[in-house]
Symmetry: C2
Subunit: 158 residues, 2 copies
């Protein structure tokens, strides 16, 4: 077995650092399955209804696009880190529709890193997400705060 | 067959109007299934790992909580309206963890309504979401812009 890599901690997530993840597409079946369960609007469910809508064809639920990015960052970054989860998302923008089989590439950049004042074992990092389709167009952006444990507890600031 | 209700349009979504949707819970299986596909972090996937985490037990992915609200509003409001989809979400806050089988009640309030200046057939509405658990605690809030067609094209403002 290969030696296990040390987990990424708060200290590793310095502003300006960025991470890219391998492209992934949503198939027509994945789009319809997700919409059936979570977002049953005609333009996510049915090709004919979607063609008749202002989208002109089947498009993925924005929640599925967000969830796909969650999968990419969970596998590619958070599960290799000391992540303690996220308090929320800011300014999620669905800029272009996501179509079946379009390869989507996510880049995540550390925008800001704040050590916790009250809890010296952790800090919060603001990540900016940029999701680009096969034509190079931005389809989604969002900002996300994630809490990470520090490598070693900081000296108390009291 | 009952007479079909007229679709809700931009004009019906006046600031201050609010809509509540019947409570719905996420089962343990639904939480694990969603996490397996979209958010494979240990505290969403496995009870023992979740107990050992700072969450102290299995919690739903925040993306699943958002998707559940999407389902409630799609079925309860958008599919009975002239909705044209959403350009995005602001300030999604995951305030308390969502646990298996906790009944979640969504209330959506119209915060703002802006007729389009360039396209007289539509307008954009800002909705505030409040999701409350069985103990009456707020578990999630978010703001969402949704575009709706107007009842009849407005007189051109040129």
């Amino acid at each position: 077995m290969a030696a296990t890599e040390p987990l990424l901690t708060f200290e590793d997530l310095t502003p300006g650092r960025s991470f890219s993840f391998p492209p992934r597409a949503l198939s027509r079946k994945e789009i319809v399955d997700f919409a059936t369960q979570w977002d049953p609007q005609p333009f996510h469910l049915d090709e004919a209804a979607a063609r008749a809508s202002h989208f002109g064809g089947l498009v993925a639920s924005g929640w599925q696009t967000g969830s796909l990015c969650m999968r990419m960052i969970a596998e590619g970054l958070l599960n290799k880190s000391t992540s303690m989860g996220s308090p929320g998302i800011d300014e999620m923008r669905w800029i272009k529709p996501v179509r079946p089989d379009d390869p989507l590439t996510l880049t995540v950049t550390v925008l800001e890193a704040r050590p916790s004042r009250s809890k010296p074992d952790r800090g919060t990092v603001r990540l900016g997400y940029l999701l680009v389709n096969g034509a190079g167009e931005t389809v989604m952006t969002l900002g996300c705060w994630v809490m990470f444990k520090r490598r070693a507890p900081a000296v108390s600031e009291i």
